[in-house]
């Protein structure tokens, strides 16, 4: 287990380094932030001066070397647009706003599908199953920005301001954006659990468990679900990536002051330090979650273990 973790940590360092390096060069290919800072009536000399003040006139390898030495210390430089430390800005927007939203949506997308998927599978072709499949199809096909706007119109306008149309800070502010963000992965997970359960419920060991006289609840939740949960767990891990990228749209619709909104401004504004800091944080989160998922899968299903006993 320890060797596995160590190996994965070394992999993680390379993955994160690779991602931020690719982003470092890619964003510089996409345009010059200096031109975005000056007036449209600026001359080339004014643009060149802005570039010099920003330090972007230095050779690329010098900029990269500086980045490599300072980034591991969390220093990504000053934001080009806000003139504040980039990583501080990213963390300010990530915690608590984006973390709250992503966590709430993740909980909804991971917890709710379990009973819904199980009920659909155990009532195959019944009314509940049809309703669950139809609902899942609806939620998966809905563009999230449209769903968000419809929820705003329903809860903030039609129902007389039952929930706020915008903003952040209280539980009531969290409900609509979290629901919108969770909708698609929730629907996907319901379908995954349902199909996994349908497959597992046909297996011999389930029949054996039933034949031994175990209670149906125990058969389903202790034996069948545990074996059906593999793909669900993998996809749930990946869902976090979806959640983080999904916040870009959801945060805009609901005026949620998180990382998504920061990135929405940083990318077209060519705010290199902020983009790099945000990608660095995303990469670390993504690698960490995938590591946790691998470990959990091994714990749930010995066949999936890639650690222990030299496996």
């Amino acid at each position: 287990m320890r060797a596995f973790l160590l190996r994965r940590l070394v992999h993680a360092v390379f993955v994160v380094w690779g991602v931020v390096t690719v982003v470092f060069f890619l964003v510089r290919l996409t345009g010059d932030p200096a031109a975005l800072l000056v007036d449209a009536s600026a001359t080339r000399e004014e643009v060149a001066h802005a570039r010099q003040v920003l330090g972007l006139d230095r050779p690329l390898y010098v900029q990269y070397a500086e980045f490599l030495t300072s980034a591991p210390l969390g220093d990504f430089g000053l934001s080009i647009r806000e003139r504040r430390p980039a990583m501080r800005m990213v963390l300010e927007h990530f915690w608590p706003a984006t973390a709250q939203l992503a966590f709430a949506a993740l909980v909804l997308a991971v917890v709710l599908p379990i009973p819904l998927g199980v009920i659909a599978a155990t009532h195959r072709n019944g009314v509940l199953d049809h309703a669950s499949r139809l609902g899942s199809l609806f939620l998966q096909s809905m563009p999230s920005f449209w769903l968000g706007l419809m929820l705003i119109l329903l809860f903030a306008v039609a129902l007389g301001g039952l929930l706020p149309a915008y903003g952040w800070g209280t539980l009531s502010h969290l409900i609509l954006p979290a629901l919108t963000l969770a909708a698609a992965p929730l629907a996907q997970n319901v379908r995954l659990i349902r199909s996994g359960m349908l497959e597992v419920l046909q297996q011999d060991y389930v029949r054996t468990a039933r034949a031994k006289g175990l209670a149906e609840r125990g058969v389903i939740y202790r034996h069948a679900l545990r074996n059906a949960a593999g793909p669900f767990l993998t996809v749930s891990g990946l869902s976090l990536g979806f959640m983080l990228s999904g916040t870009i749209v959801i945060e805009t619709v609901f005026s949620w002051p998180g990382m998504g909104r920061l990135i929405v401004q940083a990318v077209p504004g060519r705010d290199f330090p902020v983009i790099q800091a945000a990608v660095f944080l995303f990469a670390i989160l993504f690698v960490a979650v995938n590591l946790v998922v691998d470990v959990l899968q091994g714990l749930l299903d010995p066949r999936a273990r890639v650690f222990g006993d030299g496996g």
């Binding site: 345009g31 800072l37 009536s41 643009v47 647009r81 003139r83 927007h93 903030a156 909104r261 504004g269």
Partner: protein, 537 residues
């Protein structure tokens, strides 16, 4: 001084001192309607500012925030006319010197007095002089004054409330390009550094910054010591709601009082709701198609002159555009056609005959210029989609079809705004290239518009020919107001006929507010003005 003059002078002194005393309690009613002076006015805006230092730029988003806190020497009234701000008056002392008489008794929110030293410090920052002496850093400025206005040579304090600015050549619009820049406190900035201006700065403006939750809201408190008409609510909250539908939903739900940038389609619907009011104002935002008319030595041309150097070709493009249809169908009247290069609400604007919609004449002009069905004119049009809004994107799509209808082969390439600027900075627009873009102004004077074609800039792809350049320069150097207005009118008429760009439309901006909001008048400037705005009790 004769005794008979004394009462007039005393009266003048009293008038000068009265506003400076400030601190008067806001009224409890306006126009006979009781108001709530302790209320919080919540205004939904499309975007948050990225910073608050005026030197970093005064674009349309930043201005809305910056001008609540900071003020400039020259203020603007509700009709867009220049009026005394931190300067009581300004005048040319001679051809090469302007003098600003400053308002007395004004203090920044932390108590620092405003005086001539403040102005000199700000001029030093604007022109990047003495930064080491003040111990402050340079910043990537939106406008590099030292490069744009190199003829401003020095500035001096005549007394504590009089400043003179000297130039090496006559400058007619100095009062505007210096006078409209927001001024930051001297001692405070030196003590806290220029970075602090981006956090929680102090200004002389009507609103004190209380809190800034980035990407969410900015909260202000009324500056009770303000020298002019203060806000009539205790607090002002500028709430960011980027999505138009969400802004309108918040307004209809009563969760905000006022929203900006109402899409044209929504104005009619909202206007019919009894609890809401829709108001609009003409803006300086002029949207255009810029085309490559540069000589081959002025850009990375591959040895070819820009295809649009011939004024007949550009005029043909202008005649091919049906602006009335665009304004009626896409903007629902919330835009106007303006054939002058100067915004209709800028000082010095002279109305010009509109470009008629005449596809037949457009085809004839193209033929005169040597283009035919066999040898068609091609235009490679760069479109920064989703940058200026949906109506802009739709307008450009309509213009493309109108140009095709007169035989122009248009190839549209959508790209993001940053990539467009990259192309313009590098000077790699192809010979048959063009781009759709809008420009606005932080200034009041026509000069900010007519200088577009004077030097090689990002947006100047059809530089003035020598005769127009000479005329332009004479407008800059003519300090006599009457003579200058005449020169400006002549320049606008000749630029209209020379047609450097394909003029599309000038924007009107729509706002909607609840009936509780009293005395809100949209400005023609980049910022909203909440002085005197009240909430019904």
């Amino acid at each position: 001084m004769t005794p008979s003059h004394r009462p007039i002078l005393w009266l003048a002194l009293l008038v000068l001192l009265l506003p400076a005393s400030g601190g008067a309690a806001p009224p409890t009613s306006v126009d006979g309607v009781p108001i709530d002076p302790d209320a919080e006015l919540v205004v939904a805006l499309t975007a948050d500012t990225t910073n608050l230092d005026p030197r970093l730029g005064m674009g349309s988003i930043r201005s809305n925030y910056i001008r609540q806190v900071f003020e400039s020497l020259v203020d603007v009234d509700r009709q867009g006319r220049p009026v005394p701000g931190l300067a009581l008056s300004w005048k040319p002392v001679n051809d090469l010197t302007w003098e600003f008489a400053l308002r007395r008794g004004v203090t920044f929110h932390d108590g620092e007095p405003f005086n001539a030293d403040t102005v000199l410090f700000n001029l030093d920052r604007m022109f990047r002089k003495n930064l080491d002496r003040w111990g402050i850093k340079d910043v990537p400025a939106g406008t590099a004054f030292d490069k744009v206005y190199p003829f401003v040579t020095r500035w001096e304090k005549v007394d504590d409330f009089t400043v003179r600015v000297h130039t090496s050549e006559p400058s007619s619009s100095l009062w505007d390009f210096l006078g409209r820049e927001p001024l930051v406190p001297r001692a405070w900035t030196i003590k806290h550094g220029v970075e602090a201006l981006n956090d929680k700065p102090v200004g002389t403006g009507p609103w004190k910054l209380l809190a800034w939750k980035r990407k969410d809201h900015m909260l202000f408190e009324r500056h009770d010591g303000y020298w002019g008409t203060p806000g009539f609510t205790k607090r002002l909250r500028l709430q960011v709601i980027p999505e138009a539908a969400a802004r309108i939903a918040a307004l209809r739900a009563g969760q905000v009082h006022l929203v900006e940038a109402v899409p044209p389609l929504d104005t009619e619907v909202l206007g019919k709701q009894p609890a809401l009011r829709v108001v609009s104002s003409v803006q300086k935002l002029a949207c255009r198609v810029y085309v490559n008319g540069r000589a081959k030595e002025a850009y990375e041309s591959g040895g070819q002159d820009g295809l649009f150097a011939d004024p007949r070709v550009r005029m043909a493009l202008n005649l091919a555009v049906n602006r009335e249809a665009i304004i009626a169908k896409i903007f629902h009247g919330l835009a106007l056609a303006n054939a002058s290069p100067v915004a209709t609400v800028a000082y010095g604007h002279a109305p010009q005959p509109p470009y008629p919609y005449d596809p037949g004449r457009a085809r004839a002009l193209l033929a005169e210029a040597g283009f035919s069905r066999e040898r068609p004119l091609t235009l490679q049009l760069l479109l920064p989609a989703k940058h200026y809004g949906q109506a802009f994107d739709e307008s450009v799509a309509a213009v493309v079809e109108m140009l095709k209808a007169v035989g122009v082969q248009v190839m549209v390439q959508t790209l993001d705004f940053g990539t467009l600027l990259q192309t313009l900075t590098k000077g790699t627009l192809p010979p048959n290239g063009g781009f759709a873009a809008c420009r606005t102004s932080n200034n009041l004077d026509a000069d900010d518009f007519v200088r577009d074609w004077a030097s090689t800039t990002l947006v100047n792809w059809t530089p003035y020919p020598p005769d127009l350049l000479a005329l332009y320069q004479s407008t800059r150097r003519q300090v006599d107001a009457g003579k200058r207005l005449a020169l400006l009118a002549e320049l606008q008429q000749r630029v209209r006929d020379w047609a450097p760009v394909v003029s599309l439309y000038q924007e009107k901006k729509a706002y909607a507010h609840t009936a509780r909001v009293l005395r809100f008048v949209p400005t023609q400037e980049l910022n909203m003005d909440f002085r005197g705005v009240a909430l019904r009790r």
